[in-house]
Amino acid sequence: MKGAAFWISIVAVLVAGLVLTRVVSNEYYFNALYVILQGAIMAVAWNVLGGFTGYVNFGSAGFFAIGAYTSIALGKAFGQSLPLPVMIATAAVVCGLIGLSLGYLTLRLKGVYFSIATLAMAIVFETLMNNWSYVGGARGAYILTPDSHLWFNSYIEMLFMVMLLLTLGSVAISRALNASRLGRGLASIRDDEVAAECAGVPTLRLKLISATIMGAMMGVAGAPYPYFVTFVDPASAFSLFVAVNAIAMPMIGGTAHWIGPVIGALLVGTAQQVITVTVSSELNVLVVGVMLVLFITLAPQGIVGLAQKYLARRRR
């Protein structure tokens, strides 16, 4: 997608979102869309490290939950009147730093160790939150949604627009990264790290940048979460389901291209909403797992890869 076309479609999606808040009054749709967009940010963030650089993060739920708990802690400390953008920005900084330090500890080792360390990080923080009574401990915390919702009809409509903005922002960052010099460096690490190192690519520094961006984006996705659900406990915030979704969506969409996780998130997210409503939420969880395993065994390049293969065959 060329630069102009990309920005026009970003604006078009934004306008469509604004129109939606005027036309649709059923709050369910905004709830559903919020969940899908949250999945999209997580998927895009996961792909920055997983798809571009080739390092698997199993602890996405940890970053997400720390983002959510940053909002809760700030709300407790400074009152609920603290504006949402401040909380989102703080969550981005906190989670970015966690991503950086985790990367600093383990990204020098084989990729496997980083993966296991991310899983470990999520459990360590879950235990911390379970024992930190200030933010509710194991019992969880209730959050009051603020009364003001700008010029929107309801709070959820405003949250939806916030999430849409954040999603578009993440997509733009991910696309810029993919095309930049930095992105080419990351791709060289993914394809052959030793060769990249020999060619003078500062691999550790690039990996750390990549891990920081990933952490910050996931924190951003988690920061508005307490205001969306109004009740957060460690078990729901650190849910394995969040982590599986963050892996499954890019894997199904295709990891090498920035559009892959977006396609995967829209597809999987929508399918999940439909299955949850029409069948059951347990089956919904199972479907994601099965789709993940099927895609990585049968179509490792994801939907984008399948499409590219199809186009290449037609051109011949």
Binding site: V56, V124, T127, V244, T297
Partner: protein, 291 residues
């Protein structure tokens, strides 16, 4: 709070627990340590072993350990089949680092959800005559529900160790980790050896699972807590060294019990992961690993 008998009890309980951890980790020491396959679903298979023991025990009243031994061959076949899929889809095309990891992650997730769908999130347990009995030595109490798993785990660990170091196939498994090509030149097929070893590793989870459900009630997501433990033990033990793994398991068991006793049980899940993070950061080759 701090007293000698509490301390002694914690040490003994920790050693017994650590012995059991060795049984849970030994399969991973083979797959992750020797075969270089990051089977993150390993604890999920252990939980499947627990549910197998639970089902058979409830219907036929067999002893859980016996069930574990009886079902080990079934688990072996399942493991061999899974390695087949893994080999054909990832290893042969050189994609095991990214896709292979995600594959096992998805597998773990599917196992957990299937168990929840079939049996719910309730805790399940087994019945056997010895569960609930305790022998007392001085002021130290040794419950049989810990002693039996410890003994079985010790036998399993020694058995696997002897098998790997004394038999032809066992040595071939060790060799496949070191030099694939050399093994091929010796006339052994690395893929078949790895398939056999992976099956063996999954077979141990049938026994480990039956031990897990003797120690306490089991629910589907229990496996997740063991991911940290088994990887911490295998990495700390120096990747694939069976004696190293056993010592690391005992250390982790003692440390975890100490933290649980003196700081409160809500902190113990963080112990193994902290040990793992520290090991990775400070000494990634483990306590007994070669540099």
């Amino acid at each position: 709070m701090w007293s000698v008998d509490l301390f002694a009890n914690a040490i003994v309980a920790g050693l017994l627990l650590g012995g059991f951890y060795a049984a849970v980790s030994i399969g991973l020491a083979i797959t992750f340590g020797q075969l270089d396959i990051v089977n993150i679903a390993h604890p999920a298979f252990v939980v499947v072993g627990s549910y197998t023991a639970y089902i058979i025990n409830r219907h036929f009243g067999l002893d859980p350990v016996l069930i574990g031994v009886l079902f080990a061959p079934v688990f072996f076949l399942v493991g061999a089949a899974i390695y087949r899929v893994y080999y054909v889809s990832f290893e042969r095309t050189g994609q095991e680092s990214l896709s292979g990891l995600a594959f096992f992650f998805g597998l773990m997730f599917i196992i957990e959800v299937l168990l929840i769908m079939a049996y719910g999130v309730d805790y399940r347990l087994v019945t056997a005559g010895y569960i609930g009995q305790t022998i007392n030595i001085g002021f130290v109490g040794i419950p049989f529900r810990m002693l039996v798993p410890f003994s079985v785990a010790a036998a399993l660990t020694v058995g696997i160790y002897l098998y790997l170091s004394r038999t032809f196939t066992g040595r071939a498994i060790l060799a496949v980790a070191q030099d694939r090509l050399a093994l091929q030149l010796m006339g052994a097929d690395p893929v078949r050896i790895k398939q056999f070893a992976f099956g063996l590793a999954i077979a141990t989870t049938a026994i480990a699972g039956s031990l897990l459900i003797i120690i306490g009630p089991v629910e589907p997501s229990l496996g997740r807590q063991y991911i940290g433990r088994v990887f911490a033990i295998v990495v700390l033990g120096g990747m694939g060294s069976i004696p190293g793994m056993a010592i690391a398991a005992l250390i982790l068991g003692v440390v975890e019990t100490m933290v649980g006793t003196f700081m409160g049980p809500s902190w113990s899940p963080a112990v193994s992961f902290s040990v793992l993070l520290l090991t990775l950061a400070l000494r990634p080759s483990g306590l007994f690993g070669r540099k």
